[in-house]
């Protein structure tokens, strides 16, 4: 898409389209990522509620996955999980394992 000229842009840098970050990979600079021990997860949704990037994906009231396009690896989920079933793994280790 051709970037807009100044006369056609909304003022003050505001974005008029809701949820526009869906189209942008904001997790690309992540250093570590959450690794969930899914069999131990009780789907209490605390990680989902705390995640600042809405990166925990839910289907039919169950946590199903982490959206790694938007997770920036802050680790809040790992700290808050009452079952301690989320561990943070460095991207270097993940890459080495793959």
């Amino acid at each position: 898409m051709e970037p807009k000229v100044w006369q056609e842009m909304p003022p003050g840098g505001i974005i008029l389209e809701a949820g526009s970050s869906r189209g942008v990979e904001t997790g690309s600079w992540r250093v570590s990522r959450p690794v969930v021990d899914w069999p131990r997860c009780v789907h209490c949704m605390i990680c989902w509620a705390f995640c600042p990037d809405s990166a925990f994906l839910v289907q039919e009231m169950k946590l199903v996955d982490v959206d790694l396009d938007h997770c920036k690896g802050c680790g809040i989920c790992a700290v808050e999980c009452p079952r301690q079933c989320i561990a943070m793994a460095t991207e270097t280790d993940v890459a080495a394992a793959a």
């Binding site: 003050g12 840098g13 505001i14 974005i15 008029l16």
Partner: protein, 407 residues
């Protein structure tokens, strides 16, 4: 050309005011009450404190239904103002010198987000050494932060500007924050005769604020403060400059409407005896009153002296300044602050640039006066006028009025 003070014999305006004896800070607080801001977040600092105190009393006594936020610092004050303005509120604040300096980071956010916040700036010297009295060091340091800057001369004009500032800021073609400058102590604390307009007339004059993209409009959600970078930042800056360019018309438009209702007329500039002047001074703020007296004295002696007071510091009315000074052979500029290490003082630099761009490029000599609240008696301004008439006086920095120095 315009005049600041309603002259004797002026026709009674459609909406007459009530004569009051009040200082500038208290009268500005009344203007704030009358324009009915949704939110005021402010922190007291001398000499602005009277505004915050008086206005918070109005809130406490139920005379205005504003959400008054007593914050912990000026950085917090401006940040709270920005948040409230993003939500879609009409917002005001007030500060002085070091308070403005503490706001600096967020001043640019207010203008960058195009939020029509109005701030009453009671000008004060910056530390160190510590000084609470008036000069324009604080205001001059904010010139490039993207705020429209109006400079009043006296109590009445500080009040009138406080009202017009709302209209200018909220004009959708402008949509920029506006600073209403009044000289610390000289205007904020000196009691003068002024006219307080009727509450409903002021409320009607400023009208209801309808924000373009308020965060609280849940039907039209927006993102505010997103990352910009090299691919959009330059365009957004250019948009701000367009708002500034439009502000010039908005200042004049608000002034015309104000004059038609309330009888006092203002412009981008205020000239005195300038039409046939051979020698003229350019100034901002309260010193203009003393200078008019000096001009009158020189005129009685046969010197064709004149005065140009700039009312709108940002956007700087370059073309208008050049036009006003077109016929003047010897021009002086009086700055109430130092631009340490610069080519010249702030107002001098603007005037020189305006003349170089639009005018005949007459020599412009600059003096520094009144820094840190130093009193400048009429005789010192008179000496500056006489020095301008001396062919030996060079353009550029001529020196300081009232400075103790070894000759």
């Amino acid at each position: 050309m315009t005049t600041t003070i309603a002259r004797r014999g002026t026709k009674r305006p459609p909406v007459p005011g009530t004569p009051v004896a009040m200082n500038g800070a208290a009268l500005v607080a009344h203007a704030m009450r009358q324009v009915r801001p949704d939110v005021v977040a402010a922190y007291p600092i001398t000499p602005q404190t009277v505004i915050t105190e008086t206005f918070s009393e109005f809130v406490a006594n139920g005379r205005v239904h504003t959400e008054f936020v007593p914050v912990e610092s000026e950085h917090a004050a401006m940040s709270a103002c920005i948040g409230a303005a993003c939500a879609g509120a009409r917002v005001q604040t007030a500060t002085s010198g070091p308070g403005l300096a503490l706001m600096w980071e967020v001043l640019g956010i207010a203008s960058g987000l195009r939020l029509p916040i109005v701030m009453h700036l009671c000008t004060r010297a910056l530390s160190a050494p510590i000084d609470i009295l008036c000069d324009h060091s604080d205001a001059m340091a904010m010139r490039e932060t993207g705020w429209v800057m109006l400079v009043g001369e006296n109590v009445q004009e500080a009040y009138d500007n406080a009202i017009m500032a709302v209209k200018i800021a909220e004009d959708p073609r402008v949509s920029l924050p506006v600073a209403n400058l009044l000289d610390g102590f000289v205007v904020t604390h000196c009691m003068e005769r002024a006219e307080l307009l009727p509450d409903d007339a002021v409320t009607e004059f400023v009208g209801e604020y309808s924000p373009t993209h308020p965060l609280l409009d849940l039907q039209h959600p927006v993102t505010v403060g997103a990352l910009d970078f090299h691919d959009y930042y330059m365009e957004h800056r250019r948009q701000q400059e367009e708002g500034m360019a439009n502000a010039k018309q908005a200042v004049e438009h608000a002034a015309r409407e104000f004059a038609s209702l309330f009888g006092r007329s203002y412009g981008l500039l205020d000239t005195y005896q300038l039409e046939d002047a051979e020698v003229a001074m350019v100034v901002i703020g309260s010193a203009a009153g003393t200078l008019r007296m000096v001009v009158d004295g020189l005129r009685r002696e046969g010197v064709r002296a004149g005065l140009l007071r700039v009312r709108c510091l940002r956007p700087f009315p370059s073309q208008e300044v050049a036009n006003a000074l077109k016929g003047v052979q010897r021009i002086g500029v009086l700055d109430r602050s130092l631009a340490l290490g610069a080519a010249g003082e702030p107002l001098w630099s603007d005037v020189v640039a305006a003349l170089a761009t639009h005018g005949a490029g007459h020599p412009v000599t600059g003096w520094v006066y009144g820094v840190g609240g130093r009193n400048t008696p009429p005789g010192q301004f008179r000496q500056a006028f006489l020095a301008l008439l001396d062919p030996a006086t060079q353009p550029g920095r001529a020196g300081y009025l009232g400075l103790r120095e070894r000759r």
